[in-house]
C-alpha cells in the first residue's frame, strides 16, 4: 500500500519523475495544464506504486510527497 501526492501547482512537468520511476507508472498528464502552463505529473497506475520515492528523490521542485 503506497501512494504519491503531486503538488500540481509547483510541478513544472520536467518529466524527471517519469524517467526515475522504476515501474514506469508515472506520466505527464497531457490532458491538463496547471496554472504555470505545464502538464503536471500523474500516477497512472496507483495500485502498482510501492512508495520507493525514486520520483520524489529526482523531483527538482520537491513537488512529490510519498506515503507508504
Amino acid at each position: 500500500m503506497a501512494k504519491i501526492i503531486v503538488d500540481e501547482k509547483v510541478c513544472k512537468g520536467c518529466g524527471m519523475c517519469v524517467h526515475a520511476c522504476p515501474l514506469k507508472i508515472i506520466a505527464l498528464d497531457k490532458s491538463r495544464l496547471n496554472a504555470k502552463g505545464y502538464h503536471p505529473a500523474k500516477l497512472m497506475e496507483p495500485e502498482k506504486c510501492v512508495g520507493c520515492a525514486s520520483c520524489a528523490t529526482m523531483c527538482p521542485d520537491t513537488a512529490i510527497t510519498v506515503e507508504r
Binding site: 500500500m1 503506497a2 501512494k3 501547482k9 509547483v10 513544472k12 512537468g13 520536467c14 518529466g15 524527471m16 524517467h19 526515475a20 505545464y38 512508495g51 520515492a53 525514486s54 520524489a56 528523490t57 529526482m58 523531483c59 527538482p60 521542485d61 520537491t62 512529490i64 510527497t65 510519498v66 506515503e67 507508504r68
Partner: protein
Amino acid sequence: MAIVFQKPSTLTDAPMHYCPGCTHGIVHRLVAQALEELGVEGKAVGVASVGCSVMCYDYFTCDMVQAPHGRAQAVATGLKRARPDNVIFTYQGDGDLAAIGTAETVHAATRGENITVIFINNAIYGMTGGQMAPTSLPGQITQTTPYGRDTNTAGYPVRVCEMLSTLSGVAFAQRVTVDNVKNVNIARKAIKKAFQNQIEGKGYSIVEVLSTCPTNWGLSPVEALKWLEDNMIPYYPLGVYKDVEEGVKK
C-alpha cells in the same frame, strides 16, 4: 500509511524559479535536509552567490546573505569569524566559484575556513543565458564558444576538487552528481558530512555537484542527465578527493 518522503521543513513554500528539470532544486533539497537532520537551521546562515541560484535566499528558511559575484566565501569568512558557533554555508555556481571568485575560493580553502561550500558545476553560465564557464568542456558549444570551446584559445576546464585537495586547509572535498536516485543519495550523504565537519570544527569542506542546465544546453531534462553522464563524469570523475578525519585545525 505514513509519510516516507516530504519536503523538508527547512525549505520555504516559495515556488523555485528554476527552469523545468534544473537540478538546482534537488541540491537545494539536499542542503535543506542536512540542515533539518542536523538540527542546525536556527544557527545556520547561508550565502547566496550571483548566478541562477542567487535567489536561494528565498528558498532556505535559515538566515541568508546575498554576496557580490564571486565573493561568497569572503562573505562566509566574515560571518563565521563574527559568530563561530553559527553554521555557515555558501551555495555557488561554477562561474562564481571558479572564475570571478577563484581567489576567494582558494584562499578560504587554504585558510581552512571552517565553512561548508556547496559548488554547483553545470559547465555553463545559466543566468546570463549560456556563456562559456570555467568548467565548460573542451569542444562544448556555448553562446560565447559557438564553434566549441577551443582549448588553444579558451584554455582548459578547471577541476576544482582536484585543485583544492592539494591545499592543507581543506578537510573534505568530494565530487558527486544528482543524475539518478543512487547518486542523489550519495550526494545527500556528502552534503550532510560537509555540514557535520563544520559542526565538529574540522575545517573547509566542499561538495562539488555535477549538475544539469537543460535550458542552456538545449536538451530536455532527461536528455541533460544523459549528457552529464556521457560528457561531464568522464572529465570530472566522481569521488572523495580529500577527507581528513581529524580535521585541519590544530
